[in-house]
Every structure is written in structure tokens, then in C-alpha cells.
Amino acid sequence: MTLSGRTFIPLAILAAAAYFLFRIHEILLPFVLSGTLAYLVSPLVRLFEVRGFRRQPVVIFLYVLFMSVIAISFYKLGLAAAFEAQDAARHMPTYVQKGGEVLARVRGSLNSSLVDYVAEHGRTWPQDILSRMPSFALGVLPVLKVVFLVPFISFFIIQEGPRWRDIVVGWVPSRYVEMTLNLFFELDNSLGRYVRGILLEALCVGCLAGLGFWAIGLQYSLQIAVVIGLANVVPYVGPVIGGILGGGVALFQWGGIAGVLKVLAVCAGVRVIEDWFIQPAVLQKAVRLHPVVVVFALMAGAELFGFWGLLFAVPVAGMAKVLLDVLCPWYRSQYGFDSPPPLPEVNRIPLV
């Protein structure tokens, strides 16, 4: 099989673009996050746009509104977190004592080397963590850069809106316009639903976990619920984090295995509700991936790009699936490998 110039040149450009993106992947994060934010905000902008409003004033209005809500939420959450931290500091001696008792009981029953290791090194851990704080604080700086860059970039992405699509469609040779549009609409439909769905799901899971923990009387249920909600953005990770965090707090709070079991029951309940009711409702028409593909994508993402690779592994795998779903049938139908969809039967019915 030989490649003609018309096939080779676009393929070479695509390969060069992919290589370029891979080389600069470390600076892509703010752009990817901005695109995600744009996906979230675009339905709201559309609500105004269909009524004849200009895009720019709508985006400015929504930005001011969002920034105000975020600032107030951070202030309120910061206050709540400070109170909780104060409370945790007050109860710390009790927790340490209870933890020691639990450790002694476990040591008595198991006599394991792991327990010995924890007992021996456990006292030095807080100091280790404190000594690492300056480097951790420096590590937060790139995150702050992202926090300031994302609203800035996403403002321009949202403001341009569908004009990006029209510009790209204008570049494409006329023969491929319809295929490109198909790709755009499929990606837009599947990814838009996925991004909005996954965040709505995270919110529901966080609320449910918070309610469950509050019902069993677990301390710091709000904070743990927030962490579970955020961790739920990565498939299968939310309930595991919830179980570990909640179980740890329960162990210190009640000093026995019964509390841990209650927390695990809440996590399992949330997981069941998520699987049976929330996911089918919010991710109904989003791109569907086989669990094995999801696990593979997560591992590949983590291997290639670390935490952010883990976070964006599933949407990227979804994009790859949509690309295949669109390009393969198009190629087959365009080159006559597939028969077109059947027409309704007309032969037996007279023209009336």
C-alpha cells in the first residue's frame, strides 16, 4: 500500500501536532482545565444567547456572579475549616490516647511487625511532615498559577464560543466539512455531557456521603464528604478514599471496629446509589467505556502525566472512542464498505 501526497501531508501534520503537544504537555494543564470550565458554563451562556443577548456581556455577568459565589464559599468554608481544625486540636490528646489503645489491642491480638513499625516510627511522622512543609508550600505555587490562569483563559474560550468551531470548519477542505462537523457534534455531545455529568455526580456523591456520615454521628463529616466528592471525579477512587478517611476518623472517634463498619456501610450505600440511580441519570448519554478500558486509561494516564493524567484519563479515552466511532463508519460508508441505512419499504404501497 502506498501513501499519496494528499493522504501523507495531513497525516504528517497530525503526527507533528501530536508530537508538539506531547513535548509541551506540562503547560497544557491550564488550557485543558479552561476548556473544562468552558464546557460547564456554556449551557448557561446559551440560555441568554438564544434570547438574542450578545455573548460578551453575558460572560462578564456570569463571571462576576461566579467569582462572588466562589469568594463567599471560600470565606465560609475557610471559617468552617478553621473551627473544625480548632476542634480537632482540642480533641487531639483524646484521639492520640484512643489511637494508642487501639494499637495496643491490635498488637496484643496480632503481634504483627507492621504494628511494631507504626509504634516505633509513628511518633516521628508529625515532625517529618512539618519539616517538609516549606517544600510543600513551594510546590503549591504552580497550582496558584493555574488558579489565576484558568479563569483568564476560559473567559476568552467562552466568549468566542461556537466561533472556534466555525473557524476550524472554515480551514477544513470542503470535502471533509460534513465529517468534521459530525466529529465536532459527537465530541461536544459526549464530552459536554460527561464533564457536566461527572461533576453533578461528584456533587451528589459528596452530599450523600455527608448526609450518611452526619446520620451516624461521624466527626468532620463535612470535610470528608468534600474530599469524597472531589475524589469521585476519578472513577472508583471516591468511595475508596471515603472508606479510608472515614474509617480512620471512626477508629479514633469510637476506638473500635464497629464505627469503621458503620462508615464502610455508608460508603457502600453511597456507591450502590451512585451505580444504580445517579450514574444512569446523569451520564445517560455520555460516552460509555468498558470498565477494563477505564482502568487501562487511568493507569496509562497516571504513568504518563501523574495526577492530572489520572484526572483526565477517562475524558481523553472517551474522546478517542468518539473519534473511532465517527471516523470508522464515515470511512466505511465513504468508500463503499458499508451499505447505507435501509429505506422504508415503498414497493408494495401504491402512490396515493
Binding site: 446559551r46 444567547e49 438564544v50 434570547r51 438574542g52 443577548f53 450578545r54 455573548r55 456581556p57 461556537p162 468551531r165 466555525d166 470548519v169 472554515g170 470542503s174 470535502r175 466539512v177 460534513e178 462537523l181 459530525n182 457534534f185 459527537e186 455531545n189 464515515w330 460508508s333 465513504q334 447505507p340 441505512p341 429505506l343 414497493n347 408494495r348 401504491p350 402512490l351
Partner: protein, 172 residues
């Protein structure tokens, strides 16, 4: 002040596009307030003089609405010669057959000068049918009426040959 605010908040392009699309028979059943939803489904693209919008035989899934310029529709006869079927003017629309049945285009469309078109893609039409059923139904009804009218005109122009074709196909 109020005038400035109105100009700043509302898009003058919106009214221009609405006035243009309201004149097109395909969108007759759509009310003034619903046109915003229709704009969201349309993609604009311009073509240079002589550029082919689509080739006869290409599988298509979009309807084209001509906003400015002229488009030539041509097709090949059995001997392979290209015959001009019609020249389309602003406000005309074409490509509706492939929009409905996703089959190869029955003709070639070429820009006779610089043209600007709106594209209504199948996925977006389906989205309109689901999300704003009134608009989707209005467009689909009009397309069905158009096809029925074409079929009727064919039946009226060649009633005997068509009737015999039906009988032959029944026998087969």
C-alpha cells in the same frame, strides 16, 4: 443611555439572521422567539468561487441554506456528461435528501462566486427534534411536504410509467 445599553446587550446580528431565515419556507412554522434555538444548530461557512460544496456520490448528512452568492447544482448523465440542473439563489436550500436518508448525494454543488451558507447537520436536527420539538417538527413537516410534493409532481407527469413500475416491483 438606554439605546447604548440595548446595543451593548443585544446582538444586531441576531435580528439580521432571524429576518433572513424567517423568509425561508423551511422555517415557516417557527415563531420569532424560537429562532435563537435554531441559530445554535446552524454552522456558517463560506466557499470560494469554483469550490465544490459536495460531490455527487459523496455520503452527506447536512442541509445547506444559501445566504449569499449563487450555487450551481449539476449531475452526470448516463454517458458521463455533466449537466447543470439548476442555479440556486440566496434563500434557497439544498441537500435535504442526504440529511434525511444519509445516502450518497445525487448531484454536485459548486460555488459560482464567493458564497456564504448555513449548514444544518443531521445530529443537530435530531437534537432540535428532542430538545425543542416544535422547531424539529416544523422542519421535518416541511421536508416531508416537500418530498410529497415532488413525488406528486413526478406521478402527475408520468402516471402510467410509474404505475407500471410499481406493478413490476410488486410482481418481483
Amino acid at each position: 443611555m438606554m439605546r447604548w445599553l440595548k446595543n451593548y446587550l443585544f446582538d444586531p446580528e441576531f435580528n439580521r439572521k432571524r429576518k433572513f431565515l424567517q423568509r425561508i419556507s423551511l422555517f415557516q412554522g417557527i415563531s420569532r422567539r424560537e429562532f435563537g434555538h435554531l441559530f445554535q444548530a446552524l454552522v456558517t461557512r463560506s466557499y470560494a468561487p469554483g469550490e465544490i460544496l459536495f460531490h455527487e456520490g459523496d455520503v452527506g448528512r447536512a442541509l445547506f441554506i444559501l445566504e449569499s452568492g449563487h450555487v450551481e447544482i449539476s449531475r452526470k448523465n448516463p454517458s458521463g456528461e455533466t449537466i447543470q440542473v439548476v442555479a440556486l439563489n440566496p434563500g434557497d436550500y439544498f441537500g435535504e435528501m442526504s440529511l434525511l436518508d444519509e445516502r450518497p448525494r445525487t448531484a454536485t454543488a459548486a460555488a459560482m462566486e464567493q458564497v456564504q451558507v448555513y449548514l444544518l447537520y443531521k445530529t443537530e436536527l435530531e437534537k432540535l427534534v428532542k430538545e425543542v420539538p416544535h422547531i424539529g417538527a416544523a422542519i421535518m413537516t416541511h421536508l416531508a411536504m416537500l418530498l410529497a410534493a415532488r413525488l406528486r409532481s413526478i406521478t402527475e407527469s408520468a402516471p402510467i410509467s410509474l404505475a407500471s413500475t410499481v406493478k413490476i416491483k410488486e410482481a418481483v
